[in-house]
């Protein structure tokens, strides 16, 4: 029998099941914590640092997506310090690569853009990195634009955990980290790719898109991954 625990989120006492993460409990109870790398139905990696929360008695901030609840935890998800840190995280994401919303196929349908708007990012206080990045157009149906990639790894996990093909991985370290297909083969030459397109649907930005859609036209079916997972769990 699963152990029941009680936690306090933003002052409200909430019943949860041991093993659930703070993010799962919060969202299940209508409490909004922003996140980019988290996607329901995939394993959690704590990469984007947007879901950071404050736990009473813990000196450092903890990522809600990977921190399991424990009996008696008191969690703050909305403090001004958190808001400030989330804004910094978003600005750093925007400064790292070349996110030019005006000419992006996903403008208007982008999770990074939406979060930046929600958090009042009207400018970026850090100098832009302006890296020279490539666009992989080799796949006949899809395109990967590294300029718009935030390294959330949702595509990596979708391909490995849902499709079972594991085409995608991360190569390099730190600021030189790049998403790679099949050990750095061009996407169009990746023989393990089934062209299912779920990575594209899972991508929060315009980094992965279907070919042929003009600016603002690339809408994504965000729920496809979580729907597949829940259907399989139901079997």
């Amino acid at each position: 029998m699963t152990e029941k625990v009680k936690v306090r989120i933003d002052g409200e006492v909430i019943a949860a099941t041991a093993g659930q993460t703070i993010l799962e409990v919060a969202r299940a109870n209508g409490k909004y914590i922003p996140a980019l790398c988290y996607m329901e139905g995939l394993s959690a990696v704590g990469a984007c640092r947007l879901c950071m929360v404050q736990v009473a008695g813990v000196a450092r901030l903890l990522p809600a997506c990977t921190t399991p609840v424990q009996e008696g935890l008191a969690i703050d998800t909305t403090s001004s310090q958190l808001q400030s840190y989330r804004k910094i995280a978003l600005e750093l994401l925007l400064a790292e690569r070349n996110h030019v919303c005006a000419v992006c196929v996903s403008s208007g349908h982008c999770e990074l853009q939406t979060l930046a708007q929600e958090h009042g990012v009207t400018y970026v206080r850090y100098p832009y990195n302006y890296p020279r990045l490539t666009v992989d157009t080799t796949h006949p149906r899809y395109v990967l634009d590294h300029n718009r990639c935030i390294l959330c790894s949702r595509c990596v996990r979708t391909c490995a955990e849902i499709e079972g093909a594991h085409v995608w991985d991360m190569a390099g370290r730190g600021i030189d980290t790049r998403l790679v297909s099949e050990l750095k083969r061009p996407w169009g030459e990746a023989t393990s790719c089934t062209s299912c397109g779920k990575c594209v649907q899972a991508c929060p930005t315009g980094a992965m898109a279907e070919k042929g859609w003009a600016v603002e036209e690339m809408t994504k079916q965000r729920t496809v991954v979580s729907r597949l997972t829940s259907m399989r769990e139901g079997q």
Binding site: V105, V135, T137, K211, G212, A214, V215, E217
Partner: protein, 473 residues
């Protein structure tokens, strides 16, 4: 040698500087037109998927983004090797006409009317929109109203007034809302009345500028523009025609794909604006002009009744081939009337509300050319892609570029006529700037390849000493 600098030229789109060199007697010896900004679009688009090009290139300019979107989309249609649906072609022409109306209204009223209605020598402190509001409130109201109409039609069609993303490779991305059609049809008569009023006003005013007519680029050049199969004026689609200064046919029905056979591009040492020339004649003798003046010289007729009647009167007054750059203003008004009449025709056509508005395709050709008549003149987008659709090369030949040689030579003519190095008058220097404004140059558009337009004017003496300098902020 003495030198005057106008830095920068005001009431134009972008950044430019003019240098006037004087001889030892203080008379104008030479002039130079410098465009001082680098944009770099042709280079930085390399590697991008071709279907992003309409939106990327529309960022070249905030005044006529629609023109770039259209030329770019046509180049992309060509790469996809598709014929876009009939309704899509009509909708593209419709938004293009709306763009013409708003851009021509901006050029005539907002940018040039201070010179034209207040006078070239009017106090520079109020030789602007504020002065117009004081002296000619009705004309200003008309100008604002006309531009608003054009912008609203663009918004109705494309959801946004500036940089919409509605024109896409293969067509447009949504059909025309029948309510938007009705609304636009009800507003068209008022817009047409504004243009007719303004034409009447200008026809009564143009004779007050004999010296400007005589000296604003009043010299023979060739002219270039798009025409239909019957030789009539075309803005969205057609073939290129070049006519000589005497009206002789130099080249006719040149397919857009063959533009490079006729148009060469020279690079000038002191400007970021390239100088296209008529290739068979060579550089720099192959000087030709584009834009409203050129289009009306090139076309046999407009093709709509009101504009054709105005064109006939215009030709009766100034001749079949009109050489003076000052008449760009008049030609612009006739074109605004044509654009409104075309909008009426397009909106009256029941197929305009058709719902098949987009063709989908991948890369079927590795090269594509798109040519349209932008408000300022012929606009050419030429792309090459790889088999995956990534851009490998781009060439943009922009309207203001075609006119570069003529603007340069026109500045010398107007400076020689009005500027006296021994007693420099603001009004004289303003005429130099006004010549540039007559061409309605879009310098941010035209410096896509290498790199400036508020205008600066330098007056330098025979020893190179800087005598005077005018900079507009």
């Amino acid at each position: 040698m003495k030198k005057i600098t106008i830095d920068h030229v005001s009431r134009i789109e972008g950044h430019a500087k003019i240098t006037i060199r004087l001889d030892s007697a203080g008379q104008v010896a030479d002039t130079q037109f410098h465009v001082t900004q680098v944009r770099g679009f042709e280079k930085f688009v390399e590697g991008r998927p071709y279907y992003e090009m309409p939106s990327i290139t529309s960022r070249i300019c905030g005044i006529c983004p629609v023109s770039h979107e259209l030329a770019s989309s046509k180049a992309c249609d060509s790469i996809m090797a598709v014929r876009i649906p009939v309704t899509a072609a009509k909708l593209r022409e419709l938004i293009h006409c709306a763009q013409f109306v708003q851009s021509h209204a901006l050029s005539f009223f907002h940018l040039s009317a201070p010179d034209l209605l207040l006078g070239m020598d009017f106090d520079p402190a109020t030789r602007n929109i504020a002065g117009l509001l004081e002296e000619h409130p009705d004309a200003l109201r008309d100008g604002i109203g006309l531009r608003k109409f054009g912008q609203q039609v663009i918004e109705r069609l494309a959801r946004e007034r500036v940089h919409p993303s509605w024109v896409v490779p293969g067509g447009v991305n949504s059909p025309l809302d029948p309510h938007a059609r009705e609304l636009t049809l009800t507003e068209l008569p008022a817009a047409m009345a504004i243009v007719k009023r303004t034409l009447a006003l200008w026809k009564g005013t143009v004779d007050h500028f004999p010296n400007e007519i005589e000296s604003f680029s009043n010299f023979p050049t060739m002219y270039c523009g798009l025409v239909g199969p019957d030789g009539s004026l075309r803005l969205y689609d057609g073939n290129l025609r070049f006519v000589g200064s005497d009206g002789s046919m130099v080249a006719d029905q040149v397919a857009p794909n063959d533009y490079a056979t006729y148009i060469g591009e020279a690079t000038l040492p002191d400007s970021y604006l390239k100088a296209p020339y008529f290739k068979p004649t060579g550089f720099p003798d192959g000087i030709y002009r584009v834009g409203p003046l050129a289009r009306l010289n090139v076309a046999d007729r407009c093709g709509t009744p009101g504009a054709d009647a105005e064109l006939e009167e215009y030709r009766q007054r100034f001749g079949r081939i009109v050489q003076s750059g000052f008449h760009y203003h008049y030609a612009r008004l006739i074109e605004a009337l044509y654009a409104l009449e075309r909008m009426q025709e397009l909106l009256d056509d029941p197929s305009i509300v058709g719902t098949m508005v987009r063709a989908h395709a991948g890369v079927n050709d590795l090269e594509g050319v798109g040519v349209i008549e932008a408000p300022r003149g012929t606009l050419i987008h030429h792309y090459k892609v790889d088999a995956n659709g990534a851009m490998t090369w781009a060439n943009l030949v922009v309207a203001t570029g075609h006119n570069n040689l003529a603007i340069g030579r026109g500045i010398l003519q107007v400076a020689k006529r009005f500027v006296d190095g021994n007693k420099i008058k603001e009004g004289a220097l303003n005429r130099v700037s006004a010549l540039v404004r007559a061409y309605d140059p879009c310098l941010s558009c035209s410096t896509h390849a290498l790199g400036t337009v508020p205008l600066a004017l330098e007056l330098r003496g025979a020893d190179g000493q800087l005598l005077d300098e005018v900079r507009t902020e």
